[in-house]
Amino acid sequence: MIPEGMRDVLPAEAAELRAIEQIVLSRFNAYGYGEVRPPALEYPETMERAGVDVASSGFHLYDERGRALVLRTDLATAVARLAAERLSERPLPLRLAYEGPVYRTEATHNRREGEFSQLGAELLGLGAASADAEVVVLLCDALSATGLRGFRLAIGSVAFHRELVAALGLAPDDSDDVFDALADRDYALLETIVSRRGVSDEGRKTLQRALDLSPGKGALSAARKLSSSEGMDEVVERLVAVQELADDAGYGDLVGFDFGLLPELDYYTGIVFEAWAPGVDFPVAMGGRYDRLLAAFDWPIPAAGFTIDLDRLHQALVDEGAGVAPLFAPTLSYIGGLDDPKRVGDLRRRGIAVAALPGDASAHMPRLREDRGEFLLEMPDATTRGSWRDVLRVLGDG
């Protein structure tokens, strides 16, 4: 029995998850991102600083003096805390990567898992569009490297809507409603807000068109036409720059723009993006710019990054029919190998994974056993009978 929302991972799945982690972390490394490992337990205040509602979403426990602790609900916040406390003397920019499980209660989180693994990268100390582009490109690179083909990255900007709402002169309460309406494409709600607040006809048209901005290649030029203030111009030009840099890096075809993209967490300040693959119910990855996150830990520097949902990525690969090349060779079962440590050691030194078994055991292929003074090596596609030297030759060729 295990608690609700938890699950066990068995060897076949674990081998694939490990291989995916390895591929992604090696791409992070190729861009100069160094891995950090924050602890599993943090103080609730740490997570709250990033605006995470830990009271309802966290698993809570107490230390021996009764101080409240929480299992980390996300790693980006823990890494921001770590960077501000431990790395603030280092020259900028800082590039950090992380990997590991996070824990959330089901009540507030509309996904089934209470524990899931995140892989992520953080670029700290750079605020330019070129830094936005680097994290976008790194995400495309890492996902492509795993073999995922059908994914697309939707890019939006929370700044566009902030500028739009500011240009219309709406009250803060109304602007929250406008954000909801834009996120859900709720025309009826938008009409209600507009009529209640006496927004000008021109403003009404602008909002309507913002809602109509369909995602895809045309969204950027449509947004440029819609722009009615310097602030909106700047936001659009910045996204154009990101698009051009992504094109130059060879990932232009994977990205599209979607101004309806508004993440639930309100710590984002600029670009936001989500990677989706066919047949999954949550984004495979999400990220963006959150220039106020480090300031919450008294280190006011800009930051951008993303988080990959390892289980969703794996699911997308399986749905796509993509194989995941295992890190480790399939294991050879050597029946009688437990009593023959010398030959077992010989095989392992040659890089062959061997599960040593008692002489009377049975095992799936590939398997090896001694049989009337000879060795019988049974592989799925061929059977070899012969001397130890023959066995080594066949395995060596494989």
């Binding site: 509309n110 059908g150 697309r152 990255l153 939707a154 996120a183 859900d184 494409r185 709720d186 025309y187 009826a188 369909s214 995602p215 895809g216 290649k217 599209g256 979607d258 309806g260 989500e274 989706w276 693959a277 066919p278 047949g279 999954v280 119910d281 984004p283």
Partner: protein
């Protein structure tokens, strides 16, 4: 890639299929759950899409999971489930109101017992409606006829879906009850999942444009 569209079975099936037919989806002899755009119809004919009919209550699950790319869902169902689906278009049929109505004598009961029993098929919306008004009620989730729940003594009032009727006439579904307020307005919406929006944005744009033309034609005529 083919755009997979799910249409609700039951009362909404016919008006839904009529709308898609007007937008250029013909059945040309194929079974109704395999309807594709007719070859010569406009404007949706440019779209590689397939309609299939599924149980109305299952449409949100098809969209959330990514098993379908677009579907038709009533607004009240979207609100009730609080799914993070994206509305693309108000299709303006199946319009109605979710109203709060009470039986005669309910006020006395509220005075003496403190709270009313409200029968509904929309427990989540009902809960938030009364919470927002600072009223305490006990919610009785039912699957059957709501006004019967009141006449049989199961509840003192209902939060029930009624068809939009001209003001003044008593809406069917809450016969014999007094309508106290409107919990939500509803109509059928074209809805997509968050993933389909990203992966099929262009195709969904074509679909929306096609359906919007049909709706504009209906309003004009």
């Amino acid at each position: 890639m083919t755009l997979r569209i799910v249409v609700p079975d039951g009362a909404l099936r016919v008006p839904s299929l009529e709308l898609f037919a007007a937008a250029g989806f013909g059945d040309d002899g194929r079974p109704a759950d395999e309807v594709r755009p007719a070859a010569d119809a406009r404007p949706a004919a440019d779209l590689d899409a397939r309609l299939s009919v599924v149980a109305a209550a299952d449409v949100p699950a098809y969209l959330t999971s990514g098993a379908a790319d677009a579907g038709l869902v009533a607004k009240d169902a979207l609100l009730e489930r609080a799914t993070r689906l994206c509305e693309l278009l108000d299709l303006r049929f199946g319009a109605g109101q979710l109203v709060y109505a009470v039986a005669p004598g309910a006020e006395v009961r509220r005075e003496r017992l403190g709270r009313l029993r409200i029968a509904t098929r929309h427990p989540a919306l009902t809960r938030s409606y009364f919470r927002a008004r600072g009223l305490q009620v006990s919610i009785v989730p039912v699957d059957g006829t709501l006004d019967r729940a009141v006449s049989d003594g199961l509840a003192d009032g209902v939060v029930a879906l009624v068809e939009t009727t001209p003001t003044g006439s008593a809406p069917a579904g809450v016969a014999g009850l007094t309508v106290e307020g409107v919990v939500a307005e509803t109509s059928i919406r074209l809805v997509t999942g968050r993933g389909a929006r990203v992966l099929h944005g262009a195709e969904l744009g074509v679909l929306v444009a096609g359906l919007r033309d049909v709706l504009a034609g209906r309003t004009a005529s």
